[in-house]
C-alpha cells in the first residue's frame, strides 16, 4: 500500500501536467472551435456551431492548408536528402573519436536563438544580402525562402535520429550484403534504407510537425505568404473560435500522420 502511494506521488505531478496542460489545452482549443464571435463586439460567444469548420472549406483557406502541407512536406524531403548522407558521414566515415565532435557541431545551432537564426536568414535573403552578392541572385522573401529557412532550422532534428540509425546498424550487415554479391547501390537500397526507415520516419515527425505549426519564421522571411500558423495569428484577436478551428486542423493533420507512420515502428524510435 505504501509503495503504491509513493508511486502515485512520483507519477502524479507529471501526469497532472500532461493531462491538464497538454491534453486540456488541446481539448479547449477543439471546444473553442465550435464557438462563435459576436460580430459587433468580437466577444466569444459559447455555443455549438459548425460555421468555423465550414469557413475552412472556402478556397482561400483550403489553399493555405494545402500550401502549409506542401511546405512541410518539402522541408521534410529536403531534410531527409541532406540528413541521410550527413548521418552516413558522421556514423561511418568520421573516425570514432571525432564523432562526438560531429554530433556537437550538429547540436550547437539548436542552442542559438530561433529568432536570431530566422533574422539571419532574412539578412542573407534580402536584396544585396549574402546570397545576392555570392550567387548573383536571391529567391527573395516568400515560398522558397520559407522552405530554405525551415529546412535549416529543423535539419538537426532529422540528422540526429538518422545518425543514430546508421550508428546502430552493425557493420557486418553491410559486409554480408557485399559478400553476397550486392553492389553498393543494391546494399544501400535493399539493406541500408529499410533498416534506416524507422529513424528517418522519426525525423520526419519532428520536421513535419514543426513546419506545420511554424509562424515566426514564416512572418520573418515569408513576405506576404500565409501558412496555417500565420492565419491563426491573424485571427487570434478578431475571431478566436476560427483561430481555434485553424489550430485544430494542424493537430488533426499531425494525428493522421502519426497514425500512418505508427506501423513503421518509428514511434518506438523517438
Amino acid at each position: 500500500m505504501k509503495r503504491r502511494s509513493s508511486l502515485g506521488a512520483l507519477l502524479g505531478p507529471p501526469l497532472l501536467w500532461l493531462v491538464v496542460a497538454y491534453l486540456g489545452a488541446l481539448a479547449s482549443i477543439f471546444v473553442t472551435a465550435f464557438f462563435t464571435t459576436d460580430t459587433f463586439t468580437n466577444a466569444v460567444v459559447p455555443g455549438f456551431s459548425l460555421d468555423n469548420f465550414r469557413e475552412l472549406f472556402k478556397p482561400a483557406y483550403l489553399h493555405i492548408i494545402g500550401r502549409t502541407i506542401g511546405i512541410a512536406a518539402a522541408v521534410t524531403v529536403l531534410c531527409i536528402l541532406i540528413a541521410v548522407p550527413f548521418g552516413f558521414f558522421m556514423a561511418r566515415v568520421v573516425p570514432r573519436r571525432w564523432q562526438s565532435v560531429a554530433v556537437a557541431a550538429v547540436m550547437v545551432p539548436l542552442w542559438a536563438s530561433y529568432l536570431v537564426k530566422a533574422y539571419a536568414w532574412r539578412a542573407m535573403l534580402q536584396q544585396g544580402g549574402v546570397l545576392d552578392s555570392a550567387f548573383g541572385g536571391t529567391p527573395g522573401f516568400g515560398f522558397a525562402a520559407v522552405i530554405l529557412t525551415l529546412t535549416y532550422l529543423w535539419l538537426p532534428y532529422m540528422i540526429l535520429p538518422v545518425y543514430t540509425g546508421f550508428e546502430r546498424m552493425p557493420e557486418s550487415h553491410l559486409e554480408a550484403s557485399a559478400d553476397l554479391g550486392g553492389r553498393p547501390w543494391m546494399t544501400f537500397r535493399r539493406i541500408l534504407m529499410p533498416a534506416l526507415l524507422p529513424s528517418v520516419v522519426a525525423g520526419t515527425i519532428f520536421t513535419f510537425s514543426l513546419s506545420l505549426g511554424d509562424y515566426i519564421a514564416v512572418s520573418i522571411v515569408g513576405g506576404k505568404l500565409q501558412m496555417l500558423g500565420t492565419a491563426v495569428l491573424q485571427n487570434y484577436t478578431l475571431n478566436l473560435p476560427f483561430a481555434a478551428a485553424l489550430g485544430s486542423v494542424s493537430a488533426l493533420i499531425m494525428l493522421l500522420y502519426l497514425t500512418a507512420v505508427r506501423r513503421t515502428g518509428a514511434l518506438d524510435n523517438l
Binding site: 552493425p170 557486418s172 550487415h173 559486409e175 554480408a176 550484403s177 557485399a178 559478400d179 553476397l180 554479391g181 550486392g182 553492389r183 543494391m186 535493399r190 539493406i191 529499410p194 533498416a195
Partner: protein
C-alpha cells in the same frame, strides 16, 4: 604439375594505422587446396580473422596478394569475389524473412525469382529448416540462425566458404552438434571451407589441415595429427592441447641433453616407485603432488626430483593403474622415448 589451389596467399601483410603501426598479419604464405576443410587456429589477436577478412575483401592487404582459384583478386571488392562468408554474429538481415535472406545473394545476381525460390528451398532443406522460411531472424534460436547463415552462404555455391568463428556464440551441446553437421555438409557439397576458430578441439575435430596462428604469423601448418603429435614450436605445443614442457636442468636429467622438450600428458604413465612400467620405457623419479579424479580420466600432478612439474593423464579404463596412489607418494613417471618432442622456442614471444 600440382592442381591450382582454391586459395593462395603470398607474402600477405596487414598493418593497421597507429604509432607505431599495428602489424596484424605479418607476411603469410599459404596454399589451401580445393575441397579442403581448412582451419585457422589461434588466440584472439593472432591475425586469423584479419586473414579471413582479406580473403573476403573486407580488408585490403598492406602488401602481398590473394589468389582465388588462380586469379589474383587483391583489390577487388567483396561482391566481385566468388567466396561467401558465415559471420560470427550471423549478420542476418532483420527486416527480411528467412526466405528473403537466403534468396538475397541469388536475387542481387539477377537469378530468376522462381529459380531463386527453388534453390533457397533446397538450401533450407539442407540445414533442415524448411518450414522456417516465413519467419524473421529475431524469431529463431541461436542455433537456427547459425544454420540460416550457413544456408544463405551455401545457396550461392561459392568456390570457397569462409566461416568466422561461426559456432562461438552457441552453447557447448549445440556447438558439438553443429560441428558434426558442418562436417557432413562440407563433405556433401565439396566446397572448400576456411574455418576460423580459437577452439583447438574444434579445429582438431573438423579439419583436414590446420594453420596455427600466433602474433600475425603462422607457426605450423599440418593435419590435426601432425599439429598435435609433432608441434613445430613450443607455442603450438602449448596452444594445441596441453603439453608438459621440460627445459633446463630437468631436460638434462630426464631427456639426457639440453634443450626445450614437450610431452603430452596422456603419453605419461605413473607407477609406484620401483615397480616396472613396461619394456622400452624411459623413466624418472618424482613425488605425487595432486590426484584429480575427473570421471573418464584421472589427472596426476607429479613433481620430478629433477625439478620440474608434469601432468600425467590416465584413462579410467579396465586396466586403470594403482587406484590407491595417494598424494605425497613416491612414484616413477614413464614414457616411450619417441613421444618426447623437441619444441624449439617460437620465433615470436607470446
Amino acid at each position: 604439375m600440382t592442381p591450382t589451389p582454391a586459395i593462395r596467399l603470398s607474402a600477405l601483410r596487414k598493418e593497421f594505422p597507429g604509432h607505431p603501426p599495428v602489424v596484424a598479419v605479418d607476411s603469410i604464405d599459404l596454399d589451401i587446396a580445393a575441397g579442403e576443410f581448412f582451419s585457422m587456429l589461434g588466440p584472439s589477436g593472432s591475425g586469423k580473422t584479419t586473414v579471413l577478412r582479406m580473403i573476403a575483401g573486407f580488408e585490403e592487404p598492406t602488401s602481398g596478394t590473394v589468389e582465388l582459384a588462380g586469379d589474383d583478386v587483391t583489390g577487388l571488392p567483396p561482391y566481385r569475389r566468388d567466396v561467401n562468408t558465415v559471420f560470427q554474429d550471423y549478420a542476418l538481415f532483420p527486416h527480411m524473412s528467412i526466405q528473403d535472406n537466403v534468396e538475397y545473394g541469388l536475387l542481387v545476381k539477377k537469378v530468376a525469382k522462381a529459380e531463386a525460390r527453388r534453390r533457397a528451398g533446397q538450401a533450407l532443406e539442407q540445414v533442415r529448416l524448411s518450414d522456417m522460411g516465413k519467419r524473421r531472424p529475431a524469431q529463431l534460436s541461436g542455433g537456427q540462425r547459425q544454420r540460416i547463415a550457413l544456408a544463405r552462404a551455401l545457396v550461392n555455391r561459392p568456390k570457397v566458404l569462409l566461416l568466422d568463428e561461426p559456432l562461438g556464440a552457441l552453447d557447448l551441446k549445440l556447438r558439438e552438434q553443429m560441428q558434426v553437421e558442418l562436417k557432413a555438409i562440407q563433405r556433401e557439397v565439396g566446397i572448400t571451407f576456411l574455418f576460423v576458430t580459437h577452439d583447438q578441439e574444434e579445429a582438431l575435430t573438423l579439419s583436414d589441415r590446420i594453420a596455427v596462428f600466433n602474433a600475425g604469423r603462422i607457426e605450423q601448418v599440418g593435419t590435426a595429427r601432425e599439429v598435435y603429435e609433432q608441434p613445430a614450436t613450443d607455442f603450438v605445443a602449448g596452444f594445441v592441447g596441453t603439453s608438459n614442457r621440460i627445459t633446463g636442468a630437468a631436460a638434462r636429467a630426464v631427456v639426457g641433453r639440453d634443450g626445450s622438450f614437450g610431452i603430452r600428458p596422456e603419453k605419461l604413465t605413473v607407477v609406484r616407485r620401483g615397480s616396472s612400467a613396461g619394456d622400452g620405457l624411459a623413466h624418472a623419479p618424482g613425488t605425487l603432488a595432486e590426484v584429480v579424479y575427473a570421471g573418464p580420466v584421472t589427472r596426476y600432478v607429479v613433481d620430478l626430483d629433477a625439478g620440474s612439474r608434469v601432468i600425467a593423464l590416465h584413462q579410467n579404463d579396465h586396466q586403470s593403474i594403482d587406484a590407491d596412489l595417494q598424494r605425497g607418494a613416491d612414484v616413477d613417471i614413464a614414457w616411450h622415448p619417441e613421444h618426447v618432442i623437441a619444441v624449439p622456442e617460437s620465433p615470436v614471444s607470446h
